[in-house]
């Protein structure tokens, strides 16, 4: 049997198991409960929660992008480790507090959290729309990863549109039926799979090309030492760019609705223990970086289509590995992309329903809301699919802008948690200006001042505006501000 046939059989086998795990997880729980669908009844345990948070980080980006960064940029790829290890840490403090606020006021989204504290309809609608666009962008990246891996591992026999449809179709089915619990249990299965694969296959590749990790780096240090430093002459990234990239990823991380809302799905103790064991996830990424380093001076960058293709390229072209390794890597990459896609599809549907639809048309009964959220999973999935396969340039620019805007939720969220002075109009203006500044520097301007990340520039403007307007505007939700601050 040819290598691609073995790979295809293994990947399809993986998809079948993923579907069964996902659908089975949702069984035995109340299918008609809004609470179950949105936050799994608030009762997810430690192992499941850990993989749910970890699976969301271990995405197509870490599987394909991390080796790509190490291969093309060198030391700046370390930012991925630093941000993965640290981004979760604030959750230890804010997670339990958000969870208590959510249970007290019956909230399950970011939009709902902001609406309750700041009042009005503008803010939740704004958040719902930004979250939807940003999620679609995120999903499109994952789906491209899935489609691409299917394509290359079967040596071009499964076209991109079909690969994306197969893998993502399964995600949509189990999320729509089982809600958060299905996503969570699938992530346990998928998380284990990709951790094992990245270590086994990653280290095997390094050893086959260089003999050992030590030998690889000794050669690299001798031949291009600047490649392993940041911001020095001959390095690929400036110190400011490196630092602000870490900062923006770190602040933005918990603002993503699919992670923020997990605060509602668990009690304080589980949240704290999740944070406790989380930095280990950063260490799991190490062999993937090593794979990227191993290709430097071995593979000519011009031969690889894009840096992100380096891992599959090594496996299929440089090394003559057996077909079952194709299949394993294919399954691992699919698992990485799917475990991110499921949580995001789920939360995008929740945010849009709760933020936009419920504010345009209040007084929906729970049953209708649940139906809308379930239907929303298909709508979000369909939109993301169509954009991935047929997307035009203008649309992609819009989505990229939204993707960078998630971090602009931060002043409003932290203001709600710790200040009674911050007001609704201040947060709305800050969010709009911050989004606009980010958008301008990310997509219009050629360079940014001092090489600072566009998101951080937006955040600085956002913060100044929130502080200034809060000082001059009247607090209309004083009572709620007091309650938010005092909980926890």
């Amino acid at each position: 049997m040819a290598d691609w046939q073995i790979a295809m059989i293994m990947m399809i086998g993986y998809l079948v198991i993923a579907l069964i795990v996902g659908v089975m997880a949702g069984r035995g729980h109340d299918k008609n409960s809004l609470d179950e669908f949105t936050v799994a009844g608030g009762g997810l345990g430690l192992v499941v929660m850990w993989f749910l948070m970890g699976g969301a980080v271990f995405s197509a980006f870490s599987f394909l992008g991390a080796p790509g960064w190490a291969f093309s940029k060198g030391a700046p790829a370390l930012y991925i480790l630093t941000y993965t290890a640290f981004a979760i840490l604030p959750w230890y403090i804010i997670g339990p507090k958000i969870g208590k606020i959510g249970r007290k006021f019956n909230i399950y989204t970011v939009a709902g959290f902001m609406k309750k504290r700041y009042g009005g309809k503008t803010l939740p609608i704004l958040i719902g729309v930004i979250a939807l666009l940003a999620s679609i962008q995120y999903l499109a990246t994952q789906m491209k990863g899935m489609a691409y891996i299917f394509n290359i591992m079967t040596e071009g026999r499964i076209p991109l549109w079909l690969g994306a449809l197969l893998a993502y179709g399964i995600v949509v089915v189990y999320v729509a039926t089982g809600g958060l619990r299905a996503a969570a249990w699938s992530d346990v299965f998928q998380g284990l799979l990709m951790i094992i694969i990245s270590w086994v296959v990653g280290l095997a590749i390094v050893n086959q090309i260089h003999g050992s990790v030590g030998e690889m780096f000794t050669n690299l240090v001798r031949d291009n030492p600047q490649f392993l430093e940041i911001g020095n002459e001959g390095s690929t990234m400036s110190g400011t760019a490196y630092t602000t990239t870490i900062l923006v990823s770190l602040i933005g991380f918990l603002m993503w609705p699919h992670l923020f809302s997990k605060s509602y799905a668990s009690n304080a103790r589980t949240i704290k223990k999740t944070v406790l064991v989380y930095p280990i996830f950063a260490l799991f990424l190490i062999p993937l970086l090593f794979v990227g380093f191993s290709a430097v001076n071995v593979v000519n960058p011009a031969d690889v289509g894009a840096p992100d293709e380096i891992l599959p390229y090594l496996i299929t072209t440089v090394l003559s590995l057996p077909g079952w390794v194709y299949g394993l890597v294919g399954a691992g990459a699919l698992a990485a992309a799917m475990s991110t896609a499921d949580a995001i599809t789920h939360s995008a549907s929740l945010e849009f329903t709760d933020g936009v639809i419920k504010n345009m048309k209040p007084d929906l009964p729970d049953k209708t809301t649940l139906f809308l959220m379930r239907a929303g999973v298909f709508v979000v999935g369909g939109l993301a699919y169509v954009i991935t396969v047929f997307g035009g340039q203008g649309l992609i620019a819009l989505l990229l802008g939204a993707y960078g805007s998630i971090v602009q939720f931060a002043p409003g969220v932290y203001g709600a948690l710790y200040s009674k002075k911050v007001t609704g109009p201040a947060v709305i203006t800050g969010l709009i200006v911050g989004t606009f500044v980010n958008y301008y520097y990310q997509l219009v301007a050629e360079t940014t001042p001092f090489d600072i990340h566009a998101g951080i520039l937006g955040l600085i403007c956002n913060l100044i505006i929130v502080i200034a307007i809060s000082a001059f505007s009247q607090q209309k939700s004083g009572e709620m501000a007091e309650k938010y601050r005092n909980i926890g």
Partner: protein, 73 residues
């Protein structure tokens, strides 16, 4: 220990390793040589501080006054 003191301790003791991993303090670790445990110094530096951070969080959890709190609702 009160809750607010714990929060302050948490932020400070985890802020320090973080600052060592971004500029300007990252300059200390930002060099290719020496090779430590088979890795360039910059790579070793980042991994070392992540492991130390992990140990700090474990220690913090042990002294957290609220770690076993049962919720009132």
């Amino acid at each position: 220990m009160s809750k607010s003191r714990f929060t302050a301790l948490y932020c400070i003791s985890l802020g320090i390793p973080f600052l060592l991993l971004i500029f300007p303090l990252f300059s200390i670790g930002n060099r290719a040589t020496p090779v430590v445990m088979g890795m360039p110094f910059s790579v070793f530096w980042v991994i070392m501080w992540i492991i130390i951070t992990f140990l700090i969080v474990l220690a913090l959890y042990r002294i957290d006054p609220d770690k076993d709190e049962e919720e009132a609702n």
